[in-house]
Symmetry: none
């Protein structure tokens, strides 16, 4: 990927101006590297991008917000089929899609409203093989690593949190009971409180809540 004089680059974005911005920035980076810009391909929709996937690209910049599909599905396809560096590009930092995008294997995550020279810098870094994340995204990632004890305080007592954790791992009442050295009745009582306080009514929901609280 690094040797070629004319790297093949895929740019996917439904909005023409955004594509221009990206392509220009990429061209600038390539020029700086003394490389040819003839290998740049553009796609303006999900389907358009999908038909290009069999072509082998060295780099790809994929907008997440396409009218006819999800950007991260493109990213997943790209990353799973051959060796390529992919950056997600988007305007908004909806934390929902960040997860999905990073899970799809993106090597970078750029926010379009950055100043041009920062965009240039990030593209440069990405093409140098380094992960390239916009500050907002990096912040979001960092937050994921912190013990998710966010959210004011939850109304749960320590014991309930303990039970929540174990049940959230998939244990059943009896197992939790012997783990905590208490009666299974008690476990179920705590569970009742948890159900009431968190407004849920099944083990599955409890597992979800446990995840949400990072009580793995």
């Amino acid at each position: 990927m690094s040797g070629g004089l004319s790297p093949r680059v895929l740019v996917v974005d439904d909005l023409e101006p955004a594509r221009r911005l990206l392509v220009d920035a990429i061209k600038a980076v390539l020029a700086k590297r003394g490389q040819d810009a003839s290998g740049i391909e553009e796609a303006s929709s999900f389907t358009e991008a999908m038909v290009l996937l069999d072509r082998k690209f060295d780099f790809a910049f994929v907008d997440l917000h396409l009218p006819d599909g999800r950007g991260w599905d493109i990213i997943r396809s790209l990353k799973s089929s051959y060796d390529i560096l992919v950056a997600a590009v988007t305007v908004m930092d909806d934390s929902q899609s960040v997860e999905a995008t990073l899970a799809a294997g993106a090597d970078g995550y750029l926010i379009k409203d950055a100043e041009p020279e920062l965009l240039h810098f990030r593209i440069e870094r990405l093409m140098a093989g380094e992960p390239s994340l916009s500050p907002a995204i990096a912040r979001m990632m960092l937050a994921r690593f912190r013990p998710h004890q966010n959210e004011e305080e939850d109304p749960l007592t320590d014991r309930e949190r303990e039970v929540l954790s174990l049940v959230g791992r998939g244990l059943r009442a009896k197992e939790v009971a012997e783990q905590l050295q208490i009666s299974s009745h008690t476990v179920r009582d705590h569970l009742k409180s948890i159900y009431r306080k968190l407004d849920v009514s099944s083990r599955a929901e409890v597992a979800i809540e446990a995840q949400k609280r990072n009580l793995t």
Copy 2:
């Protein structure tokens, strides 16, 4: 933190040369910002750092590898008591400590062997309030987000994945049944297959698996 003409900066590292390197880089950044460098404090050990904690700093650069303690404990203390930007500094990128450090609330993670101008850049970014991560660390973080992409493909059929998704959201058999317009018997049959294939035996575990597969 941003307004002061003489930001208070804490530098913790047991090795003198490393401290020099950091302090010099910090001074350079401060000079560039037209700020005074008189607020820089140095500590050469864990204990030395701990006694300085009550002083209020704006920024801190903490080496993780101290002879008498763990850098991330310092970071945790700093972050938990007041508003401050903290970067971890280290030579090696032992993935063990990365977890702990990020969990402690570090805003940046610098690797010392970077070229001076990159170090300068990273410090600058951090002081501007942006998270600042060395590429190796960013890579490591990105890897954490990828679905522990083990396993070939999962053995589930489309229908089973559909059921998995709904059950993973906390629905019960009957609800899934009407959602999919099939009999609740069938739902439970699919569930049986899922249990067998994923080697689980409860709703809670199914919910966990669903999460793991991004079938939110």
